[in-house]
């Protein structure tokens, strides 16, 4: 961003730049949630089920549906159960929202288009997104509702169990790139080569295929999407830890869910698919095309996530945990060791 300004031969004061960054992130968050929700949840799901999905709202293919939902939720009453712990109940969605949205700051969308390229970027993203567990537990406990508590415990158990494959799958990429900065990882993929053939760079999905699959599986679980949607399982726990939330507070949960989907897909795209990089585009052109390329990759990954979501039944809690502990985590440890051995030997 800083340098993007300098290509335009403008010296933007740091404060203005900061404001712009914050505004961009603030608009991106609901926007991405809207796009994912509309494209996948409303339209793709409907077409998979030989339906049309929303058509009336707004006139053209129901584009207004989710915006309308948002405006409606502003008008909804804010109900807190009498037994609830009011402060904790009120703050829980905020924790979840913030834990999502700070992640946006480190995802690069072009060679110079990144809010902050931290040295420990990916580690930062993982650390911050692990905070959502606290928010979930707060919500479930403060609701004073049994469904909510069961849901929160399931959610927390699941989030932590799948946090590990997520974190460990990243290690392989870091080993290959030699840096934790997301911009650096994109660079490593752009400049890398496979067996001396560097035409498309070296997207780590080729060399870290296992890691990519692990990451996607874990991301699916982190997002509590089917088949890992035990915490908010409708047919069992009604709505899990969100059961007592109404109106805007509840909307924040939903928004964070889709924003997290977008962020995780963004991280996956950056780590494994080369991020904003597309062969042959460099310099200022990459700054313009980069966001579009990244967006396309994110949508592709989100498509897979939602495709699985609408296809599979859900696991039972123990099967879900067993899958994490008996398959994904050992596999990701093995992946680290094998990558390490190959890296050291060659």
């Amino acid at each position: 961003m800083t340098a993007a300004a300098s290509t335009l031969a403008l010296e933007i004061p740091w404060g203005v730049l900061l404001g712009a960054k914050v505004m961009i992130i603030l608009t991106l968050l609901p926007l991405t949630a809207l796009i994912l929700g509309y494209v996948f949840l409303m339209k793709m799901m409907a077409h998979m089920q030989s339906r049309l999905g929303p058509m009336d709202p707004g006139g053209f293919h129901g584009w207004f549906q989710l915006i309308g939902d948002g405006i409606k939720f502003i008008q909804k009453e804010d109900v807190m159960p009498a037994d609830a712990d009011r402060r904790v109940f009120a703050l829980a969605p905020m924790i979840i929202l913030i834990s999502t949205f700070v992640v946006y700051a480190v995802i690069p969308a072009g060679p110079r288009l990144v809010v902050e390229d931290l040295e420990v970027g990916i580690f930062f993203a993982l650390a911050v997104s692990s905070l959502s567990v606290i928010g979930v537990l707060m919500a479930g406990w403060a609701s004073s509702n049994k469904f909510a508590l069961l849901g929160a415990l399931r959610a927390a158990g699941q989030l932590i169990a799948y946090e590990l494959p997520l974190v460990l799958a990243v290690v392989g990429v870091i080993m290959q790139a030699g840096t934790m900065s997301l911009q650096g990882i994109v660079g490593a993929q752009a400049n890398g080569e496979i067996f001396g053939w560097g035409a498309v760079g070296n997207p780590f999905v080729l060399t870290q295929a296992v890691g990519f699959v692990l990451f996607l599986a874990a991301a699916q679980a982190e997002l509590t999407q089917t088949p890992f949607d035990m915490p908010v399982a409708e047919s069992e726990l009604v709505a899990g830890y969100q059961v007592e939330y109404t109106g805007f507070r509840w909307l924040f949960f939903q928004m964070s869910e889709y924003a997290t989907a977008f962020a995780l897909a963004g991280i996956a795209a950056t780590l494994f698919l080369g991020g904003w990089y597309v062969p042959g585009v460099e310099g200022t052109a990459a700054d313009v095309l980069g966001p579009l390329v990244l967006f396309a990759k994110i949508m592709a990954i989100s498509f897979v996530i939602f495709w699985v979501r609408f296809t599979y039944p859900r696991f039972r809690e123990d099967q879900l945990q067993a899958m994490a502990w008996k398959y994904l985590i050992p596999l990701s440890l093995l992946n680290i060791l094998v990558t390490g051995i190959l890296k050291v030997v060659f």
Partner: protein, 164 residues
């Protein structure tokens, strides 16, 4: 007064307030949540000190893992939603006197020893420097850590498992 000092002031004040609430609140879950603030504040301090990796390790492990463990522990021991007056024992005053005395002593000592020495973070410590240090100077502790974790894991499993 640099911006760092302002940040420090804000962080320190909220940390101390939250820490006091941790030890005085009458609701166990609230105590854990105040502890989140303290731990987050500690991470903030690390960031100020340019210990970037340690800061986020603190968030990942302390808040993301240990605190979740604590919350699970609390919920296993039946966390009431409402305040309970039974959380403290009857040594509150003695404890307060002891700790106030300790504060006085430590602050006095520190002021005397380090005076106005400055801390100037010059270099940002990502993970790489840590790796060099761990794998060159602290190999044995590193392996011992894994043994420690293993021992803790086995111990806790043995303790917590229900034999039915």
């Amino acid at each position: 007064m640099g911006p760092q000092n302002v940040a420090f002031g804000v962080i320190a004040a909220s940390m101390v307030l939250a820490a006091v609430r941790v030890v005085t609140t009458r609701n166990v879950v609230h105590a854990a949540l105040y502890l989140v603030v303290v731990l987050g504040g500690v991470a903030g301090l690390y960031v100020l000190l340019a210990a970037e990796f340690v800061a986020w390790a603190q968030v990942l492990i302390y808040i993301g893992a240990i605190l979740v463990l604590l919350l699970f522990g609390i919920m296993l021991t039946r966390a009431p939603l409402h305040a309970s007056s039974e959380l403290d024992n009857d040594q509150r005053w003695a404890a307060a006197i002891v700790s106030l005395g300790l504060v006085g002593l430590l602050v006095g000592l520190l002021a005397d020893t380090f005076g106005r020495q400055r801390v100037r973070p010059a270099q940002v410590f990502g993970g790489g420097e840590l790796a060099d240090s761990i794998f060159n100077d602290f190999l044995v502790p590193f392996e011992v850590v894994s043994m420690l974790l293993l021992a803790a894991l086995i111990g806790a499993v043995v303790l917590a498992r229900r034999d039915d």
